[in-house]
Amino acid sequence: MSSPTATRRPFLGLDEKKRFMLALIAPAVFALVFFQIVPIFTGANASFRDWALHDPKRTWVGLKNYLYVLRDPEFLFVVLPNTFGFMAASVGCSLGLGLALALLLNRKFRGRWLVQTVILLPLMVAPVIAAIMIRWMFNDQFGIVNVVLDLFGLAPVAWLTQRWTAFLAILITDVWLWTPWFTLLLLAGLQSLPPEPFEAAQIDAATPWRVFRHITLPMLRPVMVVCIVIRSIDAFRTFDIVWTISGGGPARATEVFSIYAYVEAFQFLNFGRGSAAAVIGAFIIVFFAMGLYRILNRWVEVSK
């Protein structure tokens, strides 16, 4: 007599093992489809429609929302330059500092574990909390930053009232939050490098700078490329820090892409236009990331 399992007919031509595997991944697929894929298509659909959040008529308007965004001088000449400027400055500074810290932590010294723990602390702080703290730290009346300036005999600065000082406050926050991330990954990269080239350089009495310039850096490039690409994409969509510290101000001077999309969709309640901005941003970042990856990949190839 055969067992009940053996006589069961295959469902969709799948055997038991495959069905079991499907059952295991089903919750993840469900979450992905309903919380990622469907909202993306809903947003993309809304971008072609007259979709005011308070009065969603949902009538088809074609490319009207896209044309509005692409013709908006604020989007082209303020928002996009701010976004890419922020991305370049943040990724550049975090990478430089992260690499320096990784090199430091790759050496043996007393209290290394303590330094390591302290350096990683910002990773445990939610960006919005960090941004609230930074906003008060840069307050011209109560902020610690002006107190420090005062100790050095410098005049207090109204940080958030001018474009570049406000931008600097945002940048400092972002670099503070993300440098540990670079440190962590680059340190892992450093510790996985083969020791032979370093031993050979030691025998040749190469200076530390030459070792770093000609051995460490080229061998670390693949890790750096991954870090740069991932972080650049993430920096492009930065929202919470900018929103909390400057709100995109003064007078839109620090507005970045995600603030633009948010304000259109949720402050002006024009969900269609906000969605169009988001879709445009998605295309920009996809093409930018592909281009960046190709350039950096070539850099890695050259270094080989």
């Binding site: 959040l53 307050n139 009232t161 101000g249 007078a251 309640l269």
Partner: protein
């Protein structure tokens, strides 16, 4: 592999049984106790208003569930809830005059709530639906109030004009009594506490015709901004001078929200501020303020183009989503009616929070026994002309932002460029108003 499938099946069966049992229990509990869910902002005034409804709820075996939401996302979240078919997520929601035009078609008429006849009619202008039905039940008045330090100035010394505000502020600064003369919010969504009160007090407005709030008339005038009018340029120049020339206001003020301005005032560093009266309780909270018992109210100082102090008078209220069942609508209206009729609770709310009660028939009674309320009444409610502190068309949030960007840009540049910056922004404001 069999045991795995069996385990999966058993788990699924157990989950289904548990869910069925839970639903059964929930249904049973629901039959015993009804529930009203309230979406609101955690604020002493709103909590005080809910405390009144709580009394009714307890007496009627209703569970009042408070669902707090952050101010910064409240309007967006509730709008999405109302329009997405999930309108039954809340039975009562906090409602504000700025949102009246956005939510009017999604909210239940409230004309039939008992006690609605006892509220001030002026602030209700923002809350009528297209078919002239009221969509709000007032919770408290939120009125812009000019606060001064009563330990530094006698009532007769309080500035009555913009020029006196500068002179008095500078005098107190020179005497070392305060660090700043005036402090108030200026950044986006805090425009009322600097630009706008002086704008109205200088007989000016944002759009033409000045002080018009009829959308049809504003549209007929093509939403023409008034920001290049002399009356408007004067107020931007006034604030530019206050910060850069007279130095009665902090240099960082263009980036201040009301929180930062209030922090400076409550630290005892400023002589004057203007903010919603609802902050009076905070100013007198010894856990947060150094100026407890040293704050008084006065009418707005007036600008060169006005003769009398102006004021604005709006409300916070409660709305009922149309999407909920008839039974819950009835319950919600009963709760709100109880709140409107709870004289003791409303007087308690005033004493605890500084929120003027919605029932205007109580005002004289409170004024007779409370000096602070007399002061507020004189500073705001007795002043005419009165204006609305917002416009009530759907694109208003975009106009507000475009306006704020324009004046902040003007404040960030040179004084001689103010006129040009304002001119450059006329089209942006009009574009925001027309949605093009």
């Amino acid at each position: 592999m069999d045991w795995k499938l069996t385990a999966l099946r058993r788990t699924a069966t157990a989950a289904a049984v548990a869910a069925a049992v839970a639903v059964g229990f929930a249904a049973d509990a629901g039959a015993q106790q009804r529930e009203l869910k309230v979406g609101y902002q955690k604020h002493p005034i709103q909590d005080a208003s809910l405390d009144m409804m709580e009394k009714w709820a307890k007496a009627n075996n209703v569970k009042l569930t408070r669902i707090p939401m952050a101010y910064s996302v409240f309007m967006e979240k509730v709008t999405a809830t109302l329009t997405s078919g999930a309108g039954d997520q809340f039975d009562i929601i906090w409602h504000n005059d700025d949102w009246g035009q956005l939510w009017e078609k999604w909210l239940e008429p409230t004309d039939d709530v008992a006690g609605i006849g006892n509220v001030d009619k002026w602030p209700l202008d923002a809350f009528w639906s297209a078919d002239r039905k009221l969509t709000v039940v007032p919770m408290a008045h939120t009125v812009g109030t000019f606060f001064y330090r009563s330990d530094l100035l006698k009532p007769e010394e309080v500035p009555k004009t913009f020029a006196e505000l500068v002179a008095t502020g500078q005098r107190l600064q020179k005497e070392g009594k305060v660090k700043w003369g005036y402090v108030g919010g200026m950044a986006m969504n805090n425009t009322w506490f600097s630009f706008w009160w002086t704008m109205w007090a200088n007989n000016c407005d944002i759009l033409k015709p000045l002080f018009e709030r009829d959308n049809a008339k504003l549209k007929a005038a093509n939403f023409e901004p008034a920001i290049t009018e002399p009356c408007h340029r004067e107020i931007v120049e006034y604030w530019w001078d206050a910060i850069n020339t007279h130095k009665i206001s902090p240099p960082g003020m263009t980036a201040y929200t009301r929180n930062e301005a209030n922090a400076i005032f409550m630290a005892g560093d400023a002589a004057f501020t203007l903010v919603d009266s609802t902050h009076f309780g905070e100013f007198n909270d010894p856990r947060r303020s150094k100026i407890v018992g040293k704050v008084a109210m006065a009418p707005f100082p007036v600008g060169p183009r006005a003769q009398k102090p102006t004021s604005w008078n709006e409300i916070w209220g409660w709305g009922i989503p149309k999407g909920i069942s008839a039974e819950r609508k009835k319950l919600a209206k009963e709760a709100l009616a109880f709140m409107l009729g709870d004289e003791e609770g409303q007087m308690e709310m005033w004493k605890k929070t500084g929120g003027p009660p919605p029932n205007v028939r109580l005002w004289d009674k409170i004024a007779a026994q409370d000096a602070d309320f007399r002061m507020l009444k004189n500073a705001v409610f007795d002043q005419k002309p009165v204006t609305h502190s917002a416009y009530y068309f759907a694109e208003w949030p975009a106009v507000h932002k475009a306006y704020s960007d324009a004046v902040i840009a003007a404040m960030s540049g040179k004084r001689e460029d103010i006129g040009k910056v304002m001119q450059d922004n006329v089209e942006k404001i009009r574009r925001a108003a027309t949605g093009n």
